[in-house]
Every structure is written in C-alpha cells, then in structure tokens.
Symmetry: C2
Subunit: 252 residues, 2 copies
Amino acid sequence: MANPTACVLVIGNEVLSGRTQDANIRVIAQGLAAHGIVLREVRVIPDDAPVIIATVNAVRAAFDHVLTTGGIGPTHDDITSECIAAAFGVPWEPHPEAWARMEASYKPGEFNAARQRMATMPRGASLIDNPISTAPGFSIGNVHVMAGVPRIMAAMLGNLLPRLAGGPPIVQRAVHAQGLAEGAMAAGLAAIQARYPGLDLGSYPYYRSSGNGVAIVAKGADAAAAEAAIIEATALITSLGRAPVQGEPPAA
Amino acid sequence: MANPTACVLVIGNEVLSGRTQDANIRVIAQGLAAHGIVLREVRVIPDDAPVIIATVNAVRAAFDHVLTTGGIGPTHDDITSECIAAAFGVPWEPHPEAWARMEASYKPGEFNAARQRMATMPRGASLIDNPISTAPGFSIGNVHVMAGVPRIMAAMLGNLLPRLAGGPPIVQRAVHAQGLAEGAMAAGLAAIQARYPGLDLGSYPYYRSSGNGVAIVAKGADAAAAEAAIIEATALITSLGRAPVQGEPPAA
C-alpha cells in the first residue's frame, strides 16, 4: 500500500514577516510520518483571502490530506475559516456544537460577535477538539483546520491524526561521523541509494562545538531496507577512514 | 513605489520529514523586509526533480524575486542546480569562475566529480559568493540559489541582498499587554485596521512564564502610519483596563 500524501498550509503574516519562527511544521511532519503519511509540501501564505482560497483549492486537489495552521482566532486578520468555506463553495454559518461549547465557556454577555466567529464554520465541518482553549478546529473534505498557537495545534493534531487514513509508519535510520566530507563519499553514497530505490537516502553536514561531520539518513516505509542501507553507509564511512557512530549527531 | 515581492523555496527532504527545524525562513524574511521586499510565500518542497522544476517555473512567474535554499551540495540528493537549468531551459555546464575557485580550494586530486557538480551551473548564472566553504550560490533571471546550511545561507544572503531591487523598508511597531483577551478587543482592533488600510495590523497571543497576553503588531512601509496605529492600539488596551507596554513581549 502506498503511503498517503499531505500538504501543510501555514496561514499567517507573522511567519512571512519574520516576526515569528514557525514551530509547527516539524511537529506536524513527525506526527504524520509516525502515522504513515508522507508530507510532500509546505506552503506559508499570508492572511489574504484570494490567496488562501486559491491555495486551498490547488493543494486539496493535489494531496490526500491538507492540514492548515493559523487564522482561526477572533480578530479581523483571522480569515481562514471563511476562506475554507469559500474554497469549498459552501455557506459559512454557526456550527451548533461549536457554538454550544464556546457559549458555555464564557461568562454571560462575553460570548460576543468576535468570539462567535470562532464558532462559525463551513457547512458540513466536523470538529477537531481543543482541550486547551475550547474553540475547536474542524475538518471539511480532506482539509483539516487547526490553530496556530503551538500548544493548541499540538493538542488538535493529536485528536486529528487517528481520524486520518495513514499507512506503514515512515521510519528514519541514521549514522554519522566526525571529519567526514560529503564530497569524498558522494559516489559511494549514490551507489547505495541506487541499490535502495524505495528509500530516500540523505546526506546532511553538521556543525557542532564537539566537531563537524556528516549524517547519513535513510527514510522510508521499509524499516528493514532502511537498516540495511545504513549498514552499507556505515561500511562506506569506515572505508574512508572515519569512525561511524550509529544514530543522529548530538544536538549541540 | 510598490514594494517588490518575493517567494522563498526551501528545497530538501529533511524539513518535510521533520528531521530538521528550518532556521532560514525567518532570517530571509527579516533580511528581505529590511531591504523593502515583501515575502509573500514560502514553499517547502522535496528533492524531486519534476516538483522542483514545476515549482520554480510557477513561482518565478508570480513573484519579483525567488530565493531558494538547499540542494546545492555534492551528493546525489543535491539536484537543485540542474533542476534550475531545466526550469530555464538552458544547459547545465561548468561555470569557469566557480570551477576555478573550487579547484583552487582543494588539494591536488581532491576536486573530484562530486565536487565538480558544485561548480556546474545553468548557463548565464552569476555567482553569489560563499566566504565560508567556497562553493558559490548563483542567480539566474529572478531566481537566487543559496545553500541550506544556515551559516552559509546567511553569508550568501548578505552578498545577495544589495543586488536585488528593493523598496522602502518594511517596518514593524508593536504594543502588548498581559491579561488582554483577543476576543474582547477584536472590534476595536478591526476599527483601527479600517483606518489604516495600507498597514497589516496583526494580533498575536503569547504565553510566557511571566504571564499570558496579546501583542498587536502594525507592519508596513509607512513608518508614521505604523506608529499612529500603535498609538491607537495602546489607547484601546487602556480602555479595556489593561496596562499597555510598548514593543514586543519578552522572549520567554
């Protein structure tokens, strides 16, 4: 069975302006991989309705799953939800269950028009629970709409993933060595890649206070093949006179 | 004069797999903003030739500038350069100046076929100097090709930006307040945005050990307007009984 594909849309001016360092892409990528879904593309786009609508329609046709982050709060720049409705050509209207949950979470009189927008969704949306701040995300078709605040996004992702069609988990195996030069091992590594066409074999230089080197990473749904490729890469490193160490290099 | 637009392409499986936390987007976004170029989109795509070629051709037609990171090393998974040549329909061939620089940087016999690939570029490319590890980036048309390793990328960006047509710097002004609720100020903030249509006025919740709150950020090429909008936002915060503090919230 082929692994399903996914695209992530990060919606918000704050990443494009450089104000905010995105912290969600990596979390989503790792969650999808563990669920056997291959993340094939990420797009970061602004809070601009025509851009959001056109992008959602392009990527929902091209990938099995689309996950969005950002733009579902109560302020004027939170336009993701209404744009998703426009992309699907359905009404944007109060969602009874979301409305009930949110109304119950505010004091009388505080569930104002801005907050009611967070309970307004494309017709046919199914909720993604938000255990942290109540306002739910939602799914419509193959598009899954989550908050941008990292801890809320992570909670929503945990609720969403079990509902998505997945596949065999994507595993990664790695070996690294200090003093290794990519240019010296490139031919040998290409030969290994050629023997394992179903894997992605990557080569990543690292720079650490403890020393510089290169990590070789094999990624794919076939864990045995990934392990075999890393055994070959380990032998290649040894043949070049460097000392291979299994796994990823130290974090710092 | 309108500010030119840009798109960043992050090319590499390692961000999509969740192995690597991207560290380049924010640096590029801030550099472009200071140079008066508006970053309108980021796409993260895999080391897959048809995807790279199609994406480069889509975005170079849609934006004034395209900046790429990643995929210009010596290993088999570094295919950005040849894909850019294919996208432009020009030969991929040794670049005499890049070749000379790189050959001079290796001991005799070590400038092997893998390393020669790093001196092979689309015909007509102009070099982006790499003061750290010699192998240059390059520009062709409105596409600017840089390394993915953050410290090399940053050095290349510094050499590239002065060559790009820019505009008035994009400035940001901010005010924040603990205990502020987005839903309580949304209507007032929307009214301020309506009075400054040339600005992007954003609202961003933050969560700190010192307390939670909301930051309001005004962004645009008109610094006076950004300051005026933040003065109005400051008054709005005061009217809601919270204590406004100028600037961004503390980092932690």
